[in-house]
Symmetry: C2
Subunit: 337 residues, 2 copies
Amino acid sequence: MGTTIEDVARVAGVSRGTVSRVLNGAPNVSDSARAAVHRAVAQTGYRLNSHARALASGRNHAVAVLLTQPSDELFDDPTFRELVKGVSEGFGDSSDALLLLLAGSDLERRRTAPFLDRRRLDGVVHLTPHMTDPLLDRIIAAELPVAVCGRLPAHLLGPKVRTVTVDDQSGAAAAVEHLLAAGARRIAIIAGPEDAPGGQLRLEGARLALGAHYDATLVRHGDYGPSSGVAAMEDLLERQPGIDAVFCASDRMAAGAYRAIAARGLRIPDDVQVVGFDDHQIARELTPTLTTVHQPIQHLGQQAIQMLQSLIAGEDPGHRMFPTRLVVRDSTRPVSD
Amino acid sequence: MGTTIEDVARVAGVSRGTVSRVLNGAPNVSDSARAAVHRAVAQTGYRLNSHARALASGRNHAVAVLLTQPSDELFDDPTFRELVKGVSEGFGDSSDALLLLLAGSDLERRRTAPFLDRRRLDGVVHLTPHMTDPLLDRIIAAELPVAVCGRLPAHLLGPKVRTVTVDDQSGAAAAVEHLLAAGARRIAIIAGPEDAPGGQLRLEGARLALGAHYDATLVRHGDYGPSSGVAAMEDLLERQPGIDAVFCASDRMAAGAYRAIAARGLRIPDDVQVVGFDDHQIARELTPTLTTVHQPIQHLGQQAIQMLQSLIAGEDPGHRMFPTRLVVRDSTRPVSD
DNA sequence: CTGAAAGCGCTAACAC
DNA sequence: GTGTTAGCGCTTTCAG
């Protein structure tokens, strides 16, 4: 209870300054001094006071992951789980603290806002599919280093802001090209939310790949969740006869589409072929299994935290974008290539 | 950038001490001084340095929620989502910080351990269905106030440790009594993990309610997850003919039991009646809808954080236990009472 | 390579 | 009701 650096110094027979150097891995310390300090630390059961350190040094040794989704969404969408897992793994055995901060409701945002401060945090990992977030403005205004999983409007991209993304556009293009190769001609699109840059790019990629086959009346927007997939697919089947394939911007919407298709008495892939996006576990669990675009989501989380650490160290990791990969399963017809 | 209490004092024309008093809501300050300080704070854009405050006062104005589940389990089990939601809501507009700490893997526990310290946290909310957790020992050893959602072995119950639970035993008894009233006689039990005190009590409640009808060969243990429910139910149906009802210690295991029962060509409730425990959303989504024991989980989370705040304030909120309530739906036969 | 000493920004005890 | 001041425990020049 309350053993300080002073006590350690006394026991080790050195000065406070030397103890501090050892504790912080400073280069210029003799081996004997270092050993003595380590012994004294063990002997006294010394524990660092992080507030004193932060006050004196200006560094916090703490980073936060901002969870900007409402908690229902947060827990329901496997993307977040994977991202958080990746961040935690990528953080490795850093001796810093990794804090999760809830910012999914107004109440939570009000509470969290004062925490987004250079005096409390060295940096932030921001997970978001959306373009706008008041807290992000605040983080950037506070000049807090931030690694964003997702795309950002250009005006937010300062020197301390780096993003990590997947190549949504190519992924969507690959999905649609596969459908075309499999013989589909009347291809519907269930896109993501309009305010999600990733979702827009998937739509754009699909549109470009479709070329002359693109038909704007076959496009719907969902919120990535399964029920929005049901609704969109029902509407499509109702109003647009002859649809022989659908590309969904998320696996969960694809799962919804499956339900609507089945409810209509249609068969996958015989009547309607389906391609998803994400390659979540559900893609393997659906019947038939879902052809989908694999995203390395956990890897994204790992990269994000490592980029953040690099930003904090004063380096510039740059923005990073990773490729996707089409995983062909049973919801599309075989293609002889 | 770096405006301190000193600057505020100068602008307000008062002393540092007075500013501090205003900031901390101390009683003995004149209205005029208070107003001047508030004005100066606004004018200078002053922001408190939490490290300096913590260093000087010994209080952190921060509490943590310890997430001790592996992240998969954490996100899959609606119980945690509800608990976290309840904690966040119960925290209200406290100006303190609420931090989520991951402690689901060994790596995470190693990183989190040093954080569980009186110097960094004022208290902890601990969510766990299990009896043992090395970090909990540590929290208690550190004399950190802690509110535990769940039951604890007696030797861990110190003055700063308070638990909040539901009456698992009565809930299970009610479930089984309902089955008996509905005519079931050969009643199987899919209980929770053996190291979960709550699960044990549910089993105990069921056993007592069954009385002479209790048959140990009809008991299986699962891990609360759906696949363990499938496995247990398959095994029961395979080896124990004539089962006409099953009580599951979680809704998710009940959902698993549904699958095993359907796979066997049996019907719910005609051939086998099913009762769950939790009353998660899934209970309403299953076909037929699930009769289950409602737990006020979100409320538990709210209570936990409030009990913690009370502990931190030096009061003793006592342990708290809340009642459950049987919700009758379509997985059991009507009972004319 | 190491010791001495000046703060980091704030709280709280004390005196008025 | 308010000012003054001595730390809280640590890092970091600056000498040597």
